[in-house]
């Protein structure tokens, strides 16, 4: 929670105004019983109508001023809480954007989303409630006690007894139930897990005829949830009647003592009524205070999760200073792997070992190999999604680590395996990587032509303004894939990686696409990762991967003559492609 305090810094003014006005309101509220005493003692008993009216107006004014103060307080409390939450949300989002693959793999995307939404809401609510009530409620409780003392010290002694007793009861019950509620929440999580598993495993459960067992397990936890709730709610059910009984017992004492004092002339009966009023004010505020405890507790748990995320160390350093987009174009080599070995974090064995090759300017290098041979891992290293275990990846003369992450990834364009699009217009989707220097529509159309996607978009009446729905559900697999290629081409970079990204294209389109790319030879070097031999056959060099090792590097004809693995792949007509 401490970590999050800094987000309140910009709202110092609000954080002072809100509780102060809340206290002012409380103060006015405390005067009400006193005014009423005046009406009774000086108005009714002295048969003085003007006192009654005058004090009636005072009562109205007290209420009105109280309302104004309170509205001001509510407004500033809301402003502080919402500003605070907005700040946290933006920073948390920024942090998530900075996460390396390793981080997100570990935390899980659904958990990140919960933190961004539910947790932030609950912290916002907590801040809001604290600003509103943390001062007001104790102020009223103690204020009412002090006011009682100003009426009569002896008669008020009962207040000094009741308040601590109530406080002990309220906090005892609250604090014994809080850990229980946490356990109940955990059991509910378990129930949720059961339901999720029963949904995702619907087929397996039926295949193994295990519904009865699943129902039994669910019902065990369901019963536990029921029993825990019953026991805990029994404890908290004591709270209300206990408070009511204690406060009213005190009332009995006030009445009994009051009778004596009135008889002795120490108190007027108007004052007895005032004491009774103060007692009921205390009752109302204590109930509010209990609710506040619960809210704060929830908020603290969420705050813990948020600050954990904020302080997670990003698994990939971004210390490079060079701008990859401005890297010199003079050298002949665009990309080079120097004896690179790599293992995924947490996995024991290397998935790439001793990889060395060069990609020269304007060339095309094809990478081929069986599933799991490490093809995609190579592209991950080029984009620096992960760091190499040993060896280095050199882009235009410098280690990829020497560039800033963003500039490196902007300098290299990639068409990932999975054709992902965002909800939004075609234009917005295609210019994803170039938001800071706007791309002309002509360039976009050109990219669409190159990727053989021009026709698709032309057919849609809206052209580049055609709206793609969430996850691109209004496009076919092949259409999506061509758009993702166009997206990469919009980036105007000098290196393009196609990561097995023509799987949904028919052969003719695939061939035309490759021919189009070849026409950009003077400015574009290409890496094609593929499973089909036909996709890489015409590349300047082909890298053959087997079990993470280089099984060969050369032209199609060279490899046919020298590389057994390649021969095998060709012989099997590239084994396991899109069937």
């Amino acid at each position: 929670m401490k970590k999050l305090f800094k987000y309140l810094k910009n709202y110092k003014k609000e954080c002072v105004i809100a509780p102060s006005f809340k206290m002012l309101e409380a103060l006015f509220e405390l005067f009400v019983p006193l005014v009423m005493t005046k009406i009774i003692d000086e108005g009714i008993k002295a048969l003085n109508t003007s006192v009654v009216i005058k004090n009636g107006i005072i009562l109205f004014l007290l209420g009105f001023v109280g309302l104004t103060c309170s509205l001001i307080a509510q407004y500033f409390a809301a402003r502080a809480a919402i500003g605070f939450a907005n700040g946290v949300r933006k920073d948390l989002y920024k942090k998530i954007l900075s996460f390396a693959h390793e981080n997100t793999d570990k935390i899980g995307s659904s958990s990140l989303i919960t933190r961004m939404t539910n947790d932030i809401n609950s912290v916002q609510n907590g801040v809001n409630m604290v600003l509103r009530l943390a001062l007001r409620s104790p102020f009223i409780v103690f204020g009412a006690m002090i006011m009682a003392f100003t009426i009569n010290v002896k008669a008020a002694i009962i207040f000094t007894l009741v308040i601590p007793i109530l406080f002990v009861i309220v906090s005892y019950i609250t604090f014994t139930t809080i850990p229980r509620y946490k356990n109940i929440q955990k059991t509910l999580d378990k129930l949720t897990l059961h339901v999720r598993e029963n949904l995702s495993g619907a087929r397996v459960i039926r295949a193994f005829d295990a519904s009865d067992e699943e129902e039994k397990e669910f019902n065990e936890d369901n019963d536990l949830f029921y029993r825990m709730n019953i026991v805990t709610s029994r404890i908290s059910a004591v709270l209300n009647p206990a408070t009511i009984i204690i406060v009213n017992l005190a009332l009995v004492v006030v009445i009994y003592q009051g009778g004596n004092f009135v008889n002795n002339g120490i108190l007027t009966n108007g004052q007895v009524i005032a004491l009774i009023n103060y007692m009921s004010q205390i009752l109302i505020e204590l109930v509010k205070l209990t609710n506040l405890f619960v809210t704060i507790n929830k908020a603290l748990a969420s705050a813990g999760r948020i600050s954990d995320t904020l302080s997670t160390e990003v698994a990939l350093s971004d210390d490079g200073k060079l701008n990859a987009e401005e890297a010199s174009d003079l050298g002949d080599t665009v990309l080079e792997f120097r004896d690179v070995s790599f293992a995924y974090p947490g996995a024991g064995d290397n998935c790439l070992e001793n990889i060395s090759f060069k990609l020269h300017k304007g060339e095309t290098v094809g990478i081929i190999g069986a599933t799991g041979s490490g093809k995609s891992s190579l592209s991950h290293l080029m984009m620096r999604f992960y760091d190499t275990g040993s060896g280095s990846v050199i882009y235009k003369g410098n280690d990829v680590k020497d560039y800033t992450l963003t500039s490196l990834r902007k300098a290299i364009s990639i068409v990932p395996q999975k054709a992902q699009l965002f909800s939004g217009s075609v234009r917005d989707n295609l210019t994803l990587g170039c938001k800071d220097n706007p791309v002309s529509d002509e360039r976009i159309w050109e990219a669409l032509s190159l990727s053989e996607a021009r026709e698709i978009i032309e057919k849609k009446g809206e052209g580049l303004d055609y709206m793609i729905t969430e996850a691109g559900s209004n496009l076919s697999g092949g259409q999506k894939q061509r758009l993702t290629i166009a997206r990469a081409l919009c980036e105007d970079s000098s290196l393009l990686i196609l990561d097995d990204s023509s799987s949904a294209l028919d052969y003719a389109t695939d061939a035309r696409l490759r021919a189009n790319l070849k026409s950009l030879k003077d400015r574009l070097s290409v890496i094609i990762i593929a499973q089909r031999v036909v996709s890489v056959k015409d590349a300047d060099h082909i890298l053959v991967l087997e079990d993470g090792r280089m099984a060969g590097f050369g032209t199609h004809d060279e490899l046919l003559a020298t590389c057994d693995v390649y021969k095998e792949i060709v012989a099997s007509q590239s084994g396991k492609e899109a069937m």
Partner: protein
Amino acid sequence: MKNRDIYKRILLLIKPHLFSIILSLIFAATNVVATLYIPILTGRAVDFMIDKGQVDFVSIKKIIVLLLITLLVNGITNFLMTLINNRVTFSIVKDVRSRLLVKMHKVPVAYLDSMGHGDILSRVISDVERLSDGLLLGFSQLFTGVLTIIGTLIFMFVTNGIISLVVVVLTPLSLFAASFISKKTYGHFKAQAKLQGEMTGFINETVNALRLVKAFGAEESEEKAFNEISDRYAKTNLKAVFYSSTTNPVTRFVNGLVYASVGVFGALLGIKGKLTIGTLSCFLSYANQYTKPFNEISGVVTEFQNAVACAGRIFEFLDAKEALDTVTQSNESLAEKIKGNIEIKDLAFSYDKSKKLLYDISFKVSSGSHIAIVGPTGCGKTTFINLLMRFFEPDSGEIIFDGIKSNELSKKDLRSNIGMVLQETWLKSATVAENIAYGHSEATREEIIEAAKKAHAHSFIKRLENGYDTMLTQDGGNLSAGQKQLLCIARVMLNLPPILILDEATSSIDTLTEARITKAFETLMEGRTSFIVAHRLSTIKNADLILVMKDGNIIEQGTHEELLDNKGFYYSMINA
């Protein structure tokens, strides 16, 4: 479902608890009376202390005794009422959840898929909770609220008519304030909910496509876009939070107004000797709490509407058509006859009758043969498997196992004869051993280890922290994709049925594990009729029968050589 039907169904849910609810209502009524009686008693007590030397102690003592009794009644009824309400609420929650889970196992798998898992989950968890909260808290609050208002008015009119009129005249003010604020807030809340949805959608999209965003170095522009949404949300949020937070101050103000009016009019009457000070004090107490039930009732109405909406969603699921089951009784002697000879005749299936999904599927295989199913994505492979397992019911056609028609078998008997290893592995959050023994909880540890060894899973399980007792996290998150598949193979291995459905992996699995899976598959398939959704050429070549599927139809079938000679789709696919 019409609201009227929903109300009826809700009443049916409550029916078993009718006695408890009546009891709860009686306690609630007693509690309201006791609560309202306390100010009257204190007021009377005050009236017995007129001035110095003029205090009637005998009467005050009598009142104190009455007060103590009322107090006790108040506390006890409050406690009992809460207990009963909780018990009713939580047992309804429990029952409904349990019924929903049972239902989940009875509806067709296709129904679950079409509903969306998140949607069903929210029905079982949040909707049930909101139903119980809204309903029962609603009922009790509505009841006590209405009772309190009526009771207050009766008590007041009995004690003093004129001053009660003052309160009644001011009542519309409370109503007006409550409805004004809730209307105003509702609009802002609706706007806020919409923006919240937009924001969550945005977060969802970027978090799921985080790699893409990073690959394009688009972090900054995404951040900018998010900040814009976040700011917009904050603006609406401020309005909604502020307007809703005006409820309390405004209520207090209206209360104060009632309080002041009662005070002034009461005092004026008092001067004329028409009202005692004690009665005034009693009226003041009432005035202090007068608007509270109004607010509660207006809150209850929204909650109740919410609860009815949730109930509708729950009942909709509970009413879903269950999977067809012509034979419910298991028949072991029939089940044992199945040896793996399968004949499929003119099988057809579609979700939507206008679009054929799978049609004209016919072939015949004998026991022990291996059948490779190949074809591009979306060709109907998965649908065929779903039909074979009777997760889906065919629109027409027959599946015959050793002379027994599929629909003459109970689903239990049918499925116990078919083992299934899908590419999408499913594991429970339970121990490794429990996962292998899934559906066969009687299996001994030896049998489990034996199965794991045959599945080539033993060596990696041994190396896990607690071996066979290692707890798997959700979806087997602490295992690699390949290891998960090995466990699923071990699960089938434990009790090998005569028919198998296997799905070769295309996802990235390290080569060592992939080799193990291939070996494990070979062990599994020995002497068993096996359907393999195949991607490896070697598997396809070795199959006794290759079914080439395209657009929901088997367009070619035969052995590898036959199909190559045929020079059709298969040939072009292989020679691509």
